[in-house]
């Protein structure tokens, strides 16, 4: 839009900020009631925020959350709920780790190795989400149900494959099982940060690029337009020449491909192999982050940072004798109150807009009271 409407900006900020404040207040009350000091909690979090290591870890977490959120958001744009990002990234990380660690990769140039690993992960992610898409377009099976099932099936498949008889390494004496380690040439170097022992993920830039591409595709391309149109009204989209089935397939595939990336920063920047303790559950965090960021590329980045920070303060809270479980409550409250706040703001905006239309058309009586009829 040509003009920046201050009201729109204000309203856009009101919801998340209001929800955050509400969640913080709620948690403070919970802490106080259960005999903890909210002040200590704040101190602990402030202290954490000033520690370079927490900073790095938060950003690194955020990078993964962001990728997961984008994957979720692609579907959300057309009201398609890819709950299966979790299974998709785990399977993708596992298989691409096996590929990256395979001995024949050793001879290849580094860039090619990394590119192949990432491409493999995207393919696997897309293939796994493709199942859900296929079931939906051919058989009308809700993707909510099928992706939930596929998540569980992915778990079993990964444990089947992560076995010395198959893709994992024979590693006697270790209590962990993992794929062959990825050699230096297959790794993505991190960015050192002063005062922190861990580096920022090099694939931070990949996440940023994904964000830019996401923004561009959705707001500037025909595909993005059709995705949005389908989300707003499937019937109108069909009448306008959009093939909804094709949109379902493409958005699921794209979502799965991005989901495949979720495990890459960790795999290529820190773990260098897929093992039993590879982080899980990021797909579900992605859903929360996408909701919080309203599928907006910048909004999701901020939300991912918030989530990353919150999840990396648990150690500090623990040290200060604040139950870190409060973080879980806080996150739940944030999401619940933010969606309610968005809804309230949306209603307010619609009414305000209609009032504007009415005023422009001279149909409103001059001094009608601010009737709010909802």
């Amino acid at each position: 839009m040509s003009r920046i409407n201050p009201r729109a900006v204000l309203l856009g900020l009101a919801a998340p900020v209001g929800a955050l404040l509400f969640a913080a207040a709620f948690c403070a009350v919970v802490l106080a009631v259960t005999g903890h000091s909210a002040g200590d909690a704040v101190d602990a979090m402030v202290a954490a925020s000033q520690r370079p290591r927490t900073f790095v870890n938060s950003i690194n977490s955020a990078v993964q959350y962001y990728l997961a959120a984008v994957a979720v958001a692609i579907g959300f744009r057309m009201k398609l709920f890819n709950i299966g990002v979790d299974g998709q990234y785990r399977l993708a990380a596992m298989l691409s780790a096996a590929l990256a660690g395979a001995s024949f990769m050793e001879g290849l140039p580094s860039v090619l190795r990394v590119a192949m690993t990432i491409a493999a992960a995207m393919l696997v992610g897309a293939a796994w989400s493709g199942f859900a898409a296929l079931l939906k377009v051919t058989r009308g099976v809700s993707e909510v149900i099928s992706t939930i099932m596929l998540n569980s099936i992915a778990t079993f498949l990964v444990s089947y494959l992560l076995n010395p008889d198959r893709l994992a390494l024979e590693n006697p004496g270790s209590n962990n099982v993992s794929t062959p380690p990825i050699g230096v040439g297959g790794q993505v170097p991190g960015i050192p940060v002063a005062g922190s022992s861990s580096d920022l993920f090099g694939l931070l830039f990949l996440a940023a690029a994904v964000g830019v591409v996401y923004w561009f595709v959705l707001s500037r391309t025909r595909f993005g337009f059709e995705l949005k149109a389908t989300g707003l009204s499937e019937s109108a989209a069909v009448a306008s020449g959009v093939s909804v089935k094709r949109m379902v397939v493409w958005s699921m595939l794209l979502s799965g491909a991005v989901a495949g990336l979720v495990g890459m920063p960790q795999l290529l920047g820190s773990s260098y192999s897929y093992s039993l303790d590879f982080p899980t559950g990021i797909g579900f965090i992605g859903i929360a982050v996408a909701l919080l960021g309203r599928n907006n590329p910048v909004g999701m980045a901020l939300a991912a940072l918030l989530w990353g920070f919150l999840n990396n303060t648990s150690n500090s809270l623990d040290i200060s004798n604040i139950p870190r479980e409060i973080i879980g409550i806080m996150q739940g409250i944030i999401v619940l109150s933010v969606v309610i706040a968005y809804e309230l703001v949306r209603r307010y905006r619609v009414r305000a807009e209609q009032r504007d239309v009415g005023r422009a058309l001279g149909r409103t009586k001059a001094a009608t009271a601010e009737e709010v009829s909802a």
Partner: protein, 419 residues
């Protein structure tokens, strides 16, 4: 579109004509035929566990929380509110049962579990009914919030309780389990003979009369009671009308908000009960105990076409595969053959209905499963647990036909805004 989201079948055409009720004998005949096939496979594969009383018993125990979750989903969706927050509400139920159960006995646990589920239901109702938030989004939020809250509370209350820990409650005592003495043993004797069909029926019956928890009995009553309330009472009619045509209901003086609230709260109560049953039957509240059962319950509800009988069947099927998978892989191996046969039956049915492509897909899959059975001795242990999920996908993908979603499910409703 949200309306169709949770629906199992969305693009499939509406069910053809035959909408009238199918007679009870038909269902009985289908059940009988299924039992015959199962017992044939049991005999052929020598997998006695396929129809043993123990399996039935375990299946029943596993099915109860799923059935409660499915019932919860049905109540909510019949009133037009999609509820994927079932999982979270179940988590609250498990905690409630743990909290009250270890202090005041299992029935107090049941009540508390129910009450905590209700809190989850109220949250969902406030968000979706009062504030018109997208139902799926609200459900996701509840699924985030509930485990966080349960964990926080469990750390608070259980850490210092004897036998408890930060993530688990002290042990809970079980409710009474009933066994019909003479019958149970008699059937056991017959079952042990491994006669074709006869022993299978005996096993089935024995499972139903041995060590049956009062909670299971309660669950059966709740399923039947829900059917009665929703389909035989004015209350039920009004509630269902809110899921089919809320504006029409409103125009006849039905307070749609009230019924939606009641339905979602009932949904919370059933989820809470499901959670409580889970905690009590496993003797403890534990963090992560629900393990996605809320979602499976939802799948069972769709499988059951939003009807009590159907969802009970769905829940039992999941419970059965789950029980088999846990009890031993020999029976799961036989399950491959069973699955193969079932798929071939589906193929024939779809072929007769004219769905050629579907029929061939089913046939090929069926043949592959059968082949897998004949070419192997057992299913790799890592894959055994996947059985319930694979079966669900196959059922939804290949067999689900006449699913009828409540028409207004998932749609926002506001009073006085009907066009």
């Amino acid at each position: 579109m949200t309306a169709g989201l949770i629906a199992g079948v969305q693009t499939a055409p509406p069910p053809p004509q035959r909408r009238g009720k199918r007679p009870a004998w038909l269902y009985a005949a289908i059940a009988l035929a299924a039992l015959l096939v199962v017992s044939a496979v049991r005999t052929l594969a020598g997998a006695t566990d396929l129809t043993s009383g123990g399996t039935v018993q375990a299946a029943l125990t596993a099915a109860v929380p799923l059935a409660m979750a499915a019932l919860a989903g049905m109540w909510s969706e019949r009133a037009g509110v999609t509820n994927i927050g079932l999982e979270g509400m179940m988590v609250l139920g498990t905690f409630g049962a743990g909290y009250a159960g270890y202090q005041w006995g299992p029935w107090a646990g049941v009540v508390f579990g129910l009450l905590l589920g209700v809190i989850g239901g109220v949250l969902h109702a406030v968000a979706t009914v009062t504030f018109g938030v997208d139902h799926i989004i609200s459900g996701v939020a509840i699924n985030l919030l509930a485990p966080g809250a349960a964990l926080f509370l469990s750390k608070l209350y259980f850490t210092r309780a004897p036998g408890g820990g930060q993530k688990q409650s002290p042990p809970l005592s079980d409710v009474t389990r009933i066994t019909i003495p003479g019958l149970s043993d008699g059937l056991g004797t017959v079952e042990a003979k491994h006669w074709f069909f006869v022993s299978d029926v005996a096993g089935l019956l024995r499972g139903l009369v041995t060590q049956v928890s009062l909670l299971t009995v309660l669950a059966v009553l709740l399923v039947a009671g829900s059917a009665w309330v929703l389909w035989r009472t004015p209350f039920g009619l009004r509630l269902r009308s809110c899921g089919e045509a809320p504006i029409a209901a409103e125009s006849l003086g039905v307070n749609v908000y009230k019924y939606k609230y009641l339905a979602v709260i009932a949904s919370g109560a059933f989820s809470g009960l499901g959670g409580a049953f889970l905690a009590i039957s496993s003797g403890q509240f534990r963090d992560g105990q629900t393990g996605g059962r809320g979602f499976i319950g939802l799948a069972a509800m769709i499988f059951g076409n939003w009807r009590p009988g159907g969802l009970a069947t769905g829940a039992t099927l999941f419970g059965y595969t789950d029980a088999l998978a846990l009890r031993g892989s020999a029976a799961v191996h036989a399950l491959l053959l069973l699955l193969g046969i079932a798929l071939l039956v589906v193929a024939v049915m779809q072929y007769r209905r004219g769905a050629r492509v579907l029929a061939s897909v089913a046939a090929v899959l069926g043949a592959l499963f059968a082949l897998w059975y004949f070419l192997s001795d057992q299913v790799p242990t890592e894959l055994v647990g996947a059985a319930p999920y694979v079966v669900t996908l196959l059922v939804l993908g290949l067999a689900a036909q006449r699913l009828r979603v409540p028409k207004a499910v998932g749609e926002p409703y506001r009073r006085g805004q009907g066009k």
